[in-house]
Amino acid sequence: MIPVQRDIGALLVGDLAERLPGAVRQLTHSCGECSLHVEPAHLTQVARFLKDEPSWRFTFLANLSPVDWLSRTPRFEVVYHLRSLEFNYRIALKVDVPDQTLSLPSLTGIWRAANWLEREAYDLFGVRFAGHPDLRRIMLPDDWEGHPYRRDYPLAGRAAQ
């Protein structure tokens, strides 16, 4: 039986509030799934908790993608899509990237899948991940300048300007 996603959001927030007070700023719902808005300082702890806690077991980092809000402060947000294969849960973690550093802690030590996903995020958005073992470009040529998925990057490339 597939559990109702809305329910696990509230449960999860309660659980996290107990273990890591102040880590979750907000809980939102969209399309039957819940998103936890997490403070950047608590990201590593929250991720570790979600993966290791026997009642949640979010062992699968399905996707990771930054969002460029351009006019907002802070400008970038990173969304982590997690799955618990054991319990068939699906959630998203949303974390604001501090404008000063444009950097978040790397989660490669928790989910190995984060390695290439964080490289992709760095390559296309220029968001850095502190503690990543090999933060190089992954899609674009190594000598590329700029980060083309940013909203202020010209669609046809710099050469077309």
Binding site: M139, L140, W144, P148, P154
Partner: protein
């Protein structure tokens, strides 16, 4: 052909040698397999029994550029792929030819984006542009026939080999 190439003025003997060499070259054009996107599927179809590129002597697709005469750039060339394409072209022995197959290889196709090369002619000299998205096998075969005509006009004599303008094949051709 390095020993005699460009050593003589054009004369009866070079004409005879030209005829033999050019026939050999024109009817055994070996393409380097350079499929990059959907055009590659049409390129592969062109070699199958239904269209049978072997009728024109060009069915021997080589995985190594060192054994190939003509490069069919079949698909979308990205900026990351561009240096590799150039390197493979440089590894091909002379005389060598390039067919830009389809809209992407010709001018970037629908991808007017930061990552796609806007025409492979910015990297290598192109002999024939084939229109289509992707071009039908008949169009690619026509490119080979026109390329054969061009090869048959070549000469080993000293007469200046003018850089010939590329041929453009329309979908209606």
């Amino acid at each position: 052909m390095g020993l005699i190439d460009g050593r003589f003025e054009k004369n009866v003997a070079t004409d005879a040698v030209d005829t033999v060499i050019n026939l050999g070259r024109a009817y055994s054009l070996w393409p380097v397999a350079y499929g990059l996107a959907c055009c590659a599927i049409e390129m592969i179809h062109t070699t199958t029994a239904r269209w049978d590129l072997a009728r024109f002597g060009a069915e021997v697709f080589r995985p190594s550029p060192r054994q190939a005469d003509v490069m069919i750039v079949a698909g979308t060339v990205t900026h990351k792929m561009a240096p590799i394409l150039r390197r493979l072209y440089d590894q091909m022995p002379e005389p060598k030819f390039v067919i830009a197959m389809g809209g992407c290889a010709t001018a970037g196709g629908p991808f007017r984006t930061y990552s796609v090369v806007q025409g492979v002619d910015t990297i290598v000299p192109v002999d024939i542009y084939v229109e289509g998205c992707p071009p039908r096998p008949e169009n690619l075969i026509r490119a080979f026939i026109l390329l054969q005509e061009r090869v048959k006009a070549m000469t080993i004599a000293k007469s200046p080999r003018s850089a010939e303008p590329p041929i453009r094949i329309g979908a209606s051709a």
